[in-house]
Amino acid sequence: MSNSARSRQSSSAVVLYVVILVAFQVFLITVAVEAYMTDAEPLAWATAIISVVVFAAAATFLRFLRP
């Protein structure tokens, strides 16, 4: 496999990882809304922390994407 094809495939993998992380963020939003509706503060804060970590991971993946 040529370097170009390999690079293109790795870029597709990075985008796929980011898509998965964004889907997970959508799920976390639903958990946060549920925590808000039921006044579950520990759950709301845990969700917020995980969400920020997921965002940081997605931003990190973006750095590995070739220009």
Partner: protein, 172 residues
């Protein structure tokens, strides 16, 4: 004039259908893979911000435990009957029930599962959430059955000498 055969020959890549039906739209601007990924990451950042905002909102909203105030005259509530009121704020539904002559308990009316309102079932002596069949013990608000995992939010109440039922604050 001789042709240089080593030079690459330019080949048109425009498909035939596009040559037959040419059209151009401003919206046909190409979005690169990197731009697409950047939009996704920006979306993830917006959702992370929303999550933090919801957590802060949840924290600030539950700080309000309420100030002592009279709810209703105890004579106006029959034994075994519930009474609906708002506490601690005007957007917080609450419910009390008179279990005895001077025995009154009160809870937030929001089910701890998904926030539906609970009702008192005198025949079963329990609080019932009709949304997902959650049941709570009448006196303590503890979970009896159903999907809720936490007890109902308790509101401390007392019957004072003036004959009024007073709410003293929300415990949980």
């Amino acid at each position: 004039m001789t042709r240089d055969h080593s030079a690459p020959v330019a080949v048109s890549v425009t498909p035939r259908w596009q040559r037959d039906f040419p059209y151009q739209q401003a919206s046909e601007e190409e979005v690169t893979r990197r731009e697409f990924a950047r939009y996704l990451v920006l979306g993830a950042g917006a959702m992370a911000t929303a999550n933090v905002g919801l957590a802060v909102w949840t924290q600030l909203r539950s700080i309000n435990a309420g100030e002592p105030r009279p709810i209703v005259a105890v004579a106006d509530v029959a034994v075994g009957d519930p009474y609906l009121f708002r506490y601690p704020g005007d957007s917080d539904p609450a419910i009390l029930v008179r279990l005895g002559s001077n025995d009154v308990v009160a809870f937030s009316q929001k089910c701890t599962h998904l926030g539906c309102v609970v009702y008192f079932e005198p025949s079963e002596e329990r609080w019932h959430c009709p949304c997902h069949e959650g049941n709570f013990e009448a006196r303590t608000g503890a979970v009896i059955s159903g999907p809720p995992t936490r007890p109902l939010g308790r509101i401390d109440v007392e019957v004072r000498d003036d004959g009024q039922i007073w709410a003293l604050g929300r415990s949980t």
